[in-house]
């Protein structure tokens, strides 16, 4: 059933864009790995918001189905990433991402 009083699709897409760009900016400006991980979560969440808004606009189930998969992906990703952060901290005793320079990149 349609909901008449909801805000527009453009508003949802703009909110999603703003959140994604904030996450991207945070990912580039922080050096602490934990903060970078949080910013990746912000980006993932913004993409999921776009899926749900588009799915709701066209009355399609696929948007929310994809949201479920995005949440699954985020859970798996954050588990692996936090294990990597723990291992990194045990080896280097810091959370500075610039210390990971053994490949001389």
């Amino acid at each position: 059933m349609p909901i008449e009083t909801a805000p527009g699709l453009e508003a949802g897409i703009m909110l999603s864009s703003i959140l994604f760009c904030l996450g991207l900016a945070g990912l580039m400006m922080r050096r602490n790995v934990i903060f970078m991980l949080m910013c990746v979560e912000i980006c993932t969440n913004a993409a999921a918001l776009m899926f749900v808004v588009a799915g709701a606009h066209w009355g399609n189930v696929d948007g929310q189905v994809m949201f479920v998969f995005v949440v699954t992906l985020a859970a798996a990703e954050v588990a692996i990433a936090l294990a990597l952060v723990l291992q990194f901290y045990h080896r280097k005793h810091t959370v500075d991402i610039d210390q990971l320079n053994e490949l001389r990149g």
Binding site: S17, A75, H90
Partner: protein, 174 residues
């Protein structure tokens, strides 16, 4: 109804901005939880109650608690705030902020210039429809997601084990 949407959006954006500029990791995480809860309210407004519930339970509940546990395990204390202060100088964050603002301006220009749709109605999609779609049409994807979670479990277990580390910094015992 629209007022609630704009208020919730403002809360989400401000809380996210606080996350990327805050010095204290735990405070930033609490702001992130606030932002996720605001997004959950927005999901509910767009007629997606299952997405809102999953956002609260899995994102704001499980994933954020996982990050809290890791922050507590690292247990860095008050020195991190000073450290973040030195890492987050204006000349460090000005460039990325400008680039992201440019990208955002482009996105908003694209969205506002193109006529996406004429009707502004939204459709309520309940949990029943999503369950039916997940276990009929997307059953293969559900199986793949379960394999991904299993791989994540095994990978996290393997990576988080403490190995003996010699003076060179490379591990020698497996």
């Amino acid at each position: 109804m629209n007022f609630v949407f704009y208020l919730t959006s403002a809360i989400a954006v401000v809380a996210t901005a606080m996350v990327i500029f805050h010095k204290n990791a735990v405070h930033a995480l609490l702001y992130l939880v606030t932002s996720l809860l605001a997004v959950a309210v927005i999901f509910y407004q767009f007629g997606a109650p299952l997405a809102a519930a999953l956002e609260v339970i899995i994102y704001a509940g499980a994933i954020m608690v996982l990050i809290v546990f890791v922050i507590m395990m690292l247990n860095q204390g008050d020195s991190t705030v000073v450290q973040e202060q030195t890492w987050l100088q204006p000349r460090t964050w000005l460039g990325p902020a400008l680039l992201s603002a440019l990208l955002l301006a482009q996105l908003i220009l694209l969205v506002s210039s193109g006529k996406i749709s004429s009707n502004q109605t939204f459709h309520y999609i309940g949990p029943k429809q999503i369950g039916i779609a997940l276990f009929s049409h997307y059953v293969l994807a559900v199986e793949l997601a379960s394999m991904l979670l299993l791989a994540g479990l095994v990978g996290a277990f393997h990576l988080a084990r403490r190995k003996k580390i010699d003076s060179e910094g490379s591990s020698n015992a497996y």
